[in-house]
């Protein structure tokens, strides 16, 4: 599903955020990405979604080399990936329903289908009764769950999450992780950046550990 091969990322005017990173994530696999603050976790996820381009090396998603993907192909790449952001990235002037519906609207689904799938996704994160609210009327944890619903509503084969439980209490965090595991069981590949080591240990999936931009554990066995 994902393959990094000798990937380097240097931001203009900064040191190397990623150094010689190589790993594979199989189709339908689930893994955690950990490491200290500033280790390069978010950077790695940004390379997968073509928000940033690698300075050197190659990033493959499925059969596609996205290190040099054409600009007009990027939207279609992103439609195949569900992304959950550290800071939710919700539209404050639209209801929860409209926020979750966004990927389906973008993909051009029919109105009835949108309605059905959005409600199913909201139900899964336990926010069906808040569908008419606006994001600012929700607590931080509720906003996070709206973001998760939006990421899964399009049934993408790959799910990326950047600290999805950062703002959730422990029991809710576990619930959300279970949700990811559930998606994983039906064949979705999942990669979650997190620093909740406790929880990760508990769940027992593969761990990719970054330190100072280098993959120090869980990468390709070379």
């Amino acid at each position: 599903m994902i393959r990094f091969s000798e990937v380097y990322k240097r931001y203009p005017g900064g040191g190397d955020a990623l150094k010689n990173v190589g790993f594979r994530l199989a189709t339908g696999e689930m893994a955690f990405l950990t490491g200290h603050s500033g280790a390069g976790k978010s950077t790695l996820l940004k390379l997968i979604t073509a928000i940033e381009r690698p300075t050197r090396g190659q990033v493959w998603i499925g059969q596609e080399n996205i290190s040099k993907i054409a600009h007009r192909k990027v939207p279609f790449l992103r439609r195949r990936i569900g992304i959950i952001f550290q800071d939710h990235k919700l539209l404050h002037d639209r209801t929860v329903f409209d926020n979750v519906a966004l990927p389906l609207v973008v993909a051009g689904l029919r109105h009835q289908d949108i309605r059905r799938r959005v409600r199913a996704a909201l139900d899964k994160v336990g926010l069906l009764r808040k569908e008419r609210n606006y994001p600012l009327q929700l607590s931080g944890g509720e906003q996070q769950r709206v973001g998760i619903a939006r990421a899964v509503v399009g049934k993408p084969p790959l799910l990326l999450a950047d600290e999805p439980t950062g703002n959730l209490d422990p029991s809710l965090s576990l619930e959300i992780m279970d949700l990811f595991a559930e998606f994983n069981r039906v064949g979705v590949a999942v990669l979650i950046a997190s620093h909740d080591l406790e929880l990760i240990k508990q769940l027992g999936y593969r761990q990719l550990v970054l330190s100072e931009g280098e993959l120090v554990a869980g990468g390709d066995s070379r």
């Binding site: 928000i51 439609r79 992304i83 973008v106």
Partner: protein, 304 residues
């Protein structure tokens, strides 16, 4: 084909709804656009009116043929008919010596003085109006030579001063028209472009999120284009209303003025059908302005 149409209609009504939800902002943008459309239109109408009036006044650019005193009315009328057959002549008027004196009296305000005359000192007169409104001075001189050679004609004259004045006025009008058109045409484009530009910035986050979720540039561009078009069209409608109001205010005064020139000119001449083009024009300009602004700024906004 149908889902495609539905999606466009959705965006159309969505952006119309956005405009409706921020009525003050919409009103401001629309008013600004309307004002910038009103001004060139007013200029265009004014030029049309001037053109029309000057058509009625062109009689000044005529050639006067003073006939010999012994030429009879009948001979004069025959001559007039002969001249009228020339291809470049629009019309020929015969003013007999008696009629000339009468016109003289009225035009000059020297009515009393003329009563003191023993006999009519004026000759008969043919007024030749050329088809080409602005006879070049070379042409005019050729005509003068030719006409004064006619046996019935004592002398031929041409009102140079009036022609010069007219030409100078037309020149000023054209330059003014050029300057105003540039200013106002640029104004409309700038205003709509600026409005959309700022709208893009105030919806920066929305654009970023849409890009992250896999929206194509076309998808993101669409609501802005519709919004620009709708604002432009609304501006055009407002402009139409303003011009109608302005014409209603002006009409009585213009009719009074025209009356002093014995003219039956009224403002009804204004092309109502052309005015109905205003909303269409506004919509097209709005679309164009949005397209420019979106094209420039959409690329800048990338999720980071």
């Amino acid at each position: 084909m149908r889902p495609w149409l539905i999606r466009h209609l959705q965006v159309f009504f969505y952006s119309l709804g956005q405009l409706w939800r921020s009525p003050w902002g919409t009103l401001m943008s629309v008013a600004v656009i309307a004002i910038s459309l009103v001004l060139p239109t007013a200029l265009y109408l004014a030029l049309e009116v001037v053109d029309d009036l000057s058509g009625q006044w062109h009689s000044g650019a005529e050639i006067s043929l003073f006939l010999e005193p012994e030429v009879s009315d009948q001979a004069a009328i025959n001559l007039a008919k002969k001249i009228n057959q020339r291809p470049q002549v629009a019309s020929v008027d015969y003013i007999s010596a008696t009629a000339a004196l009468e016109e003289f009296r009225q035009k000059s305000g020297f009515g009393v003085a003329l009563d003191l005359l023993d006999k009519n000192p004026l000759p008969g007169l043919l007024r030749v109006l050329p088809k080409d409104n602005q006879l070049s001075s070379i042409q005019a001189k050729a005509w003068l030579l030719e006409f004064s050679a006619l046996p019935e004609v004592d002398q031929a004259e041409y009102d140079y001063a009036w022609v010069q004045r007219l030409q100078a006025m037309v020149q000023i009008g054209q330059r003014l028209g050029l300057i105003f058109s540039i200013l106002l045409g640029g104004g409309v484009v700038l205003i709509i472009g600026n409005t959309i530009r700022l709208a893009i910035f105030s919806r920066r986050q929305e654009i970023e999120i849409n890009k992250l979720i896999g929206a194509t540039n076309g998808f993101i561009r669409r609501p802005f284009l519709y919004s620009g078009m709708q604002q432009g069209a609304l501006g055009g409608l407002f402009a139409l209303a303003m011009i109608y109001a302005a014409l209603s205010l002006l009409a009585p005064a213009v009719v009074r003025l025209a009356g002093t020139y014995q003219s039956e000119f009224t403002l009804q001449i204004v092309g109502w059908i052309e005015l109905l083009l205003l909303p269409l024009l506004g919509g097209a300009l709005g679309w164009a302005g949005a397209w420019l602004a979106v094209g420039r700024h959409l690329r800048e906004i990338e999720p980071g």
